[in-house]
Structure formats: structure tokens, C-alpha cells
Symmetry: C2
Amino acid sequence: MKKNNTAPDSLEAFHKRLVEISDNLPKRLRQCADYVAANTDKIAISTVAELAANAGVQPSAFIRFCQLMGFSGYSEMQRIFRNDYAQRWPDYATRIENLRANGDDSPATLLAEFLEAGRASIESLANEIDAEDLSRAVEMLAGASMIHIAGLSRAYPVAAYLAYAFEKMDIPTILHDKTGNLDRRHSILPGNVLLAISFAPYTRETIDLAAYAHERGNRIVAITDALNSPFHRLDAISLKVSEVDVGAFRALSATLSLAIALAVAVGARRRPGRGGK
Amino acid sequence: MKKNNTAPDSLEAFHKRLVEISDNLPKRLRQCADYVAANTDKIAISTVAELAANAGVQPSAFIRFCQLMGFSGYSEMQRIFRNDYAQRWPDYATRIENLRANGDDSPATLLAEFLEAGRASIESLANEIDAEDLSRAVEMLAGASMIHIAGLSRAYPVAAYLAYAFEKMDIPTILHDKTGNLDRRHSILPGNVLLAISFAPYTRETIDLAAYAHERGNRIVAITDALNSPFHRLDAISLKVSEVDVGAFRALSATLSLAIALAVAVGARRRPGRGGK
DNA sequence: TGCTCGGTGGAATAAATATTCTATTTTGCT
DNA sequence: AGCAAAATAGAATATTTATTCCACCGAGCA
């Protein structure tokens, strides 16, 4: 626990300070710290009494915690969260409403639906991604002498995007599209890794290619939408991403974000110091 | 203006009620309604005094407005916004923080960056899209006897996704990828429309194709990132989407959402009117 | 054991925020 | 123009919320 009289003025500064003071905290103040760490988002819209009750302490204790964080009191601390909120949501909700207001099946309304679906998908990916698996996937791809990318139909744009990103970073890649109906499975050599993208109902060709690679002893990284996908049997590292759908259609926002992050991380890992080019 | 004593209990109900009472409102109450309609998001974190001041009315007037909406007062109205906030952000901000906490250049941190960028892009698209242009684009594409899709490098995944979506809906489409280095410009016939996707710095081939199409008298719909893009000179309907970038890389979340919405809207528009399959 | 001192709970107080009330103004109508 | 009804501003009040204060507890130490 460390003293410091300058109040954090941003979310990052807040978190930094929270970590700083976090060692050697007395019981009640620790409860506050833990609760706040796990529920930062609630601060903007809660009263001290509510937070204190949830953290299992007295309001006065909670205020002592605020002061320890460097603020004069709860109100001052709350201010930075409210500011943050105001910036984050300039009026997104309102704009979405406005788009929707165009009429039930107007293009704008439809766009609003897909934007909402995209946002929800991204949030859910943030919640559900397994950082361990992601790291292992990056490591494995970074160590590959060649990355083979497979993804068809709905997954094809993702595969194409990955191929583009790897290409930009001078990483050797083969995109297994079906151009000319060529089967290029024999280009998969020892030490290569297959990066397969497929969603239920899984494309036969992609699964077949993965099975072939697995049989030959090549490792597989899969981007898919369920943990019990066919890739599971192939000893693949599965990155699960579930997209929210609109009617019969499913967006790709979260999947694309995952893909680009994966690609850039691999690039950074291969050439430490440079994120890309 | 209508009387009604049941308070809305959800955001949709709130908006519905807002529209209901919106006709024939006295001056000050109208100011409240207008301000609230444009700043719904601020309610969760503001006091009556603040809102009233921003709306240019007295706090008491604002409270009368709340009551007209069916609430007992401001506090009761605020509650539904705070609940909504709590649900929307169960702990998204926290999770992002947690991802970031993995270390400065860990894959998880990178993913957090891209997810944030994706979210921001989606929100900004919601703010900036021109519903008029979108409708006109849909109409034009729906009326085309054939849709030609052009998009290379970073735009290629978008083009591929559009081609996939149109194909799913049995809409005749040609994807102008550069497979076999074939130039298929001569497939562009009268009555066809070109859907071109390109971002600065614009891909030469895409622009050339668009120029050719324009010359032949074909209409163009463009998905691009600036209103002064080369498409502007070609009398294209431009849909502008600006993606937030992370380092040297730019996500595609918002663009993809726009693309799928566009495709589905075109599909919906064609089906009812025509006997088409 | 008894003293000290940081930590704590809870009541007391201060501040802010919400709500009501009423005199006055505006609006709509004839 | 003149009247009645509705709407409004702003002060007064009630309520909620934040903050301070102080008596008490319990660990560490002579």
C-alpha cells in the first residue's frame, strides 16, 4: 500500500493506481479494491451505498478507499467514469434508434440490426476468448515454416483477409481456395501449420484438408464457432468465436477482429520489435 | 400529447412512448422531449439539473416531462437507463481491461485493441451513415440485371463476402477477382451495376474498372473511406465507412456489417416485387 | 498486562439532488 | 380585448446521497 496524492484522471491511470496500492491492504479496503477491480463498469451508475453494500463494507470504508486511490471522495472518483461513459457513447444508442426509425424494413434499419449484432459479437468475444489458447495459437503459427490457410463459403472472406495480412508482413502463406478446383494438399510439408476457419455446418473440403494435415502430423489452429467442432478430434487449438445472427444471416465482425489480431500477433512474434510493416 | 399512467419499462417502450406523446407538446416540454430524443444516452449518468440546463428548461419542467412520460419522477425514469446500462456492459470494459492486463504485447492485448477498434468503427458508422444514400444504393442494386463486384487487397474479403451473400440469395453476381489475371470487364453489360470497394490508397485495377463501367454508362455503388474518393468523379453512390486503425492495421468490422446489410437489403427488395427466385 | 495505533462501524452532519408548490405568464378561445 | 385554462419559473421543501467524526476493537509490543 502506497501513498500518493495525485488522483488518476483516466481509466488507464485508475487501473495502474489500483494495482499500485493493491499490495498489503487491510481487510476492508482490500474488499473494496477487489470489488472495484471486478466491477469497474458499475461505478458510473452506482451510489457509494450500493457499491459498499455489494463489496460487503460500510460506505465510510469505501470512501476511505477512494481517498487512498487519490481522490477527495467518491464523487470525484465517479466523475472520471462518467466522463468515460459520455465519451464512449456519444450517442450511439440514439443513432441506432434513429436508423431504426427509418421504417421496419428499410436498409437503414437492417444496418442498425447488423451493427448491433456486430457490437454484441465483439463484446461476447471479449468475454469468451481464452487468452491461453490464443497465445498458444500465435506461438504455433509463428513457429511454422509455412502457414496454410483454409476457409470456404462464409469463412472464405476471413481466410482471404488472413492471407492478405500475412502477405503484408512477408510471412510465407498458402491460401487454399478452390481456384481451378485444384487440391493443393500436397504442398503441406512437415513443419507447416494449417490455419482452418469453418463454422457449423462445417464445409466438407476444409474438414477434409484438416484431417489430411493431422494425419501427416501437421498441427492445426482452428477458428470456429463451437468447442465440439470436428477440429477438436484433430488435436487442433480451437479459437471459439460466436457471432450473433440477424435473421438467417450472420455477421463476421468479431471473427475478423480475431483474425487480424491473430495475424498481427504472429507477425510481431516472428519479428520482435516490429508490429507490422 | 396523450395521457397514460403506465411507465415504460424498457428502452423500446420508452422510445415508443416518447413518440406517442410527441405531438402537440407545449414549448418547454417539447424542448425536453427533443433533448431527450437526441441524448438518451446521457440520462443514466446525469442529474435533472444538468439535463434541464442542457435542454434549456427549469428542473421542475423536466420533472413534469418525466411524469408525462408515465414515471413518478426523474429518479424512476433514470432507473430504466441505469438497468439498461448494467445489462449492456455486464463487464465488457472490465474484460477488455483483463485482456490488456496480459502484458504489453501479448496476443490478448492485441486482440483487445482490435476489438476496441472494431467497436469504435461500428459506432462511428452508426453515426455517419447517410440513410438516403444507403436506400438509393439498395434500390439501384436491386434493379440491376447483374451485379459486378470489384474489390482487391484489403477490400477483397469484403468483395468475397458480398459475392457469397448475393449467391446465397440467388442474385446474379460476378466477382471481379484477378484469378488467372483475366480482365472480365467485357462482361459488364447495359443495365448492370458495379459495386466497387476500395480504400485509400485506392487500388488501380478497381478504379480502372469503375472508370470503364462509368464510361459505358453503367451505374456504380462504392464502399469507400472518404467522400472525395476517385469514385466521386464517376457519379457513384458512395457509402462512406471509416475504420479505426490499430498501428498500421485497420480492421474491417464496420465495413463487413455495412456489406452484409447492403446485401440482405437488396435481397429483400428484389424478392417481394419480382417473381424471382 | 496494559499501552498504542491503525483499522473499523455506525451515527451525525453536510451537500447534492429531486420534487412540490404557488404566484405569474402565456396560450387558446370567444 | 377579456377570460379561463394550461404552462411555467423559481423558490421552498423533502429526500437521497456523500462525507466526516468519533467511539470502539484488536493486533503488536514493552
